[in-house]
Symmetry: C3
């Protein structure tokens, strides 16, 4: 954890800089004094080619970020970190916002660890000890 | 809000009319006297090329609709609106049902607003005032 | 139900055997004495081409399995069945783990039936009676 999914409509691609956006999100998560463990970061994008936004004008675009992380992080951390992350994402997308109307949203969901199973070969590759609890 | 994701197996594409299905869903959401605000509607499709349904016969198809919306709409609205939306989707897919066995499903999920972040350029483009609460 | 979504980074594809992995998952679900009804099984894959994992080394891969099923199965069934399913997935991916560091995860989520709508043509095709409750 965290898992981050960035959905974007294909029309925002020229200005949105999606690969850099994914790195920005991963880097922010990696700089949390291990509140979000580095080995558990998994950020990915899903490109949308079929969509209808609001009243359906084809020039509208969307970026939707879903964050899934284990429950239990302090409320204060969540408020500060995700507020700041959202501002960074908004700033990264400033050219996309200039090019067209973009509906940007981010949702942070907490996952019940009962029902979570993991086998993280990336932890080993990073020289970290195996871990049973939340990553 | 609402966010609507329509997953479909590629084998239903010839008869399912996916672009028209997305418009149907968006239009229905837009006709709710603003219970579901128009500027917040985001309907998209995800086309599935690798799938196994039931006992695995390749002729089986699937359409799965996931609706995510902010919590707090009246129970009566939800029951009436989504029941009617599902019937409209089923009717739209009648040719797909004739062409092959299709497993159709729809799930309505309510999102906790604590953990939601938004910056909706589409609201501005539509001439609506900025909004902090649920869209 | 269950719905199963297998996300995988494209770099694991040569060794991961994704079509066989989907069949493995569907077969396991089908062998539960109808605790998970066969007609409700819907396993699909989503191939990821844009992703950043952990500290971002491009050789890292990911496989993430999300299971959604109706609430109410016995705790003992869930623990035994999903523990065994995860071991089978891990074993199926042994060549992928040898080829590169892979972050494997599985999350089992329970769905509230109150917001669920279904019309399952696959049930009819299998000669099963129509069903109103959880599939």
């Amino acid at each position: 954890m965290p898992h981050v999914i960035v959905e974007y409509s294909e029309n925002v691609e020229p200005e949105a800089g999606i690969p850099a956006l994914l790195r920005l999100i991963a880097d922010r998560c990696a700089n949390t004094d291990n509140v979000l463990p580095v080995a558990g970061i998994r950020v990915r994008a899903v490109r949308l080619t079929e969509y209808v936004i609001a009243d359906g004008k084809p020039e509208y675009g969307l970026v939707n970020v879903t964050v899934k992380m284990g429950a239990g992080r302090p409320q204060e951390f969540k408020k500060t970190f995700f507020g700041s992350l959202f501002e960074a994402i908004k700033s990264h997308l400033s050219n996309a916002f200039k090019a067209r109307p973009v509906a940007l949203s981010m949702y942070v969901e907490e996952i019940d660890e009962q029902g979570a199973y993991r086998h993280n070969g990336v932890r080993d590759a990073m020289g970290l000890p195996p871990k049973q609890s939340a990553t």
